[in-house]
């Protein structure tokens, strides 16, 4: 059983649609992450939230808009996506983000996103 839950598992959307990906964890973790993973490629970090505040944005286009409404939830709002944005979007959490923190990340199953 995964401790990080992502919904939906699959999403197909047009380039003009607006949709949101959701991520939830109840492990008391205060750091949450979004990754993008293309087929047969490693995950690439997109955003890092620490104590519900955006701390890292890895130069992600503005058509991806993250939101952390509380310590358990992380959303990724999507708008005007391009076909190249089709990928597996992974959410992860860890106890914290901190100097020399070694906590591993706990990953969700991901949302497989297809842009038509």
């Amino acid at each position: 059983d995964t401790e990080v839950t992502q919904t939906p598992k699959h999403l197909v959307m047009g380039m003009t649609n607006k949709k949101s990906l959701k991520c939830e964890q109840h492990m008391g973790h205060r750091a949450m992450y979004w990754y993008k993973q293309k087929a047969k490629k490693p995950p690439e970090l997109m955003f890092v939230y620490s104590y519900e505040k955006l701390s890292i944005n890895e130069s992600v286009p503005s058509r991806f808009s993250p939101e952390c409404p509380n310590s358990s939830l992380l959303n990724l709002h999507l708008h005007a996506l391009q076909p190249e944005d089709s990928a597996l979007y992974l959410c992860a959490s860890s106890p914290r983000v901190g100097t020399n923190s070694n906590q591993p990340q706990h990953f969700g199953d991901g949302t497989r996103l297809s842009i038509l």
């Binding site: 970090l45 983000v97 591993p104 199953d109 991901g110």
Partner: protein, 116 residues
Amino acid sequence: AQTVTQSQPEMSVQEAETVTLSCTYDTSENNYYLFWYKQPPSRQMILVIRQEAYKQQNATENRFSVNFQKAAKSFSLKISDSQLGDTAMYFCAFMKSTPGTYKYIFGTGTRLKVLA
């Protein structure tokens, strides 16, 4: 900039045999953390083992162990007594966190197949 290289795109091993997956990385940092993650087909990514760079002793978790050579910037994973359930994509990852910056970089992965 940090980079992580896994030079073996695919490997196979007979059940009950031992296999070693290689990982090298490039960094100018002295303190950092290294991880091996396993991603089975269509399933979530899970942590296999982790190593703190300041520790000389190699990490071990049951059938999984690492050979960490800091000077050579090498971090290989040894899987002993391979099992069919070990079939997965294996990612090596580098992590370094300082105030205001966060790097969690994955290698390109090694697809391991355990043969019956």
